[in-house]
Symmetry: C2
Subunit: 136 residues, 2 copies
């Protein structure tokens, strides 16, 4: 995750905002993003779980925003979408017999948490409405 999920989610939310309440189906959205509709549906499922969108099943179905774009802030979207830490998360455990290796995971985790919090804080200063307003 990380890279694409947030981009895809924001793309979806922006589209939904732009069409002002109209239902969009996953194929249309996928066409705009240029990716697979199933990927869009998975992303929508997550956005739905976090209360950002509503979906209607069946013929003529699709998705729409579940709340006002002004009430969706990008930090919240980021948190909803995030699956793993931006930094860190190495494949192998450092050597527990080395004084540095033994402690570094915790120190890195703390460092990353703080740094990421700064990033999220920045995102939180913007709403979907702000972001979407940039499109003309």
């Amino acid at each position: 995750m990380n890279n694409s999920h947030f981009s895809i989610s924001l793309h979806i939310l922006t589209l939904l905002d732009q069409v002002k309440g109209q239902l969009l189906n996953s194929e249309y959205i996928a066409g705009s993003i240029n990716c697979n509709p199933v990927l869009v549906r998975k992303e929508l499922a997550n956005l739905h779980k976090h209360g950002f969108v509503q979906s209607k099943e069946g013929k003529g179905g699709g998705s729409t925003l579940a709340k006002n774009a002004a009430d969706i802030n990008l930090g919240d979207v980021y948190r909803a979408v995030k699956q793993k830490s931006l930094l860190g998360e190495s494949r192998n455990e450092p050597n527990p017999d080395c004084p540095v290796g033994k402690q570094i995971t915790k120190h890195l985790t703390d460092l990353y948490h703080e740094a990421e919090a700064a990033l999220v804080k920045n995102l939180s200063s913007k709403t979907l409405k702000d972001f979407s307003a940039g499109f003309k």
Copy 2:
């Protein structure tokens, strides 16, 4: 990149600081990180390119810090190590025939740049000395 590179680089720098000027070879470092020595050497090559470490080739060779730990700030390390954007960078080009698809790459890039700048600013408030001092 992204995840592991920064972690590995910081791990290396911390080790080098802890041994106070002693030369460490890639195999020793790899042993602490629990990864392949070649990966360490690649990382060292990058750190060297950016002036953080010095290496000595040949028998008895190894690496050491090229400057004082107090003069190495983690934001600079991050920038040196970074190879791609934290957020963004999707695989496919969005659809240029869609008003949103057409503009979103630029908007996302701007958003990510700002958010990432906030993260780097946070990291920049800490030096290697600060970080390394946490190990006892």
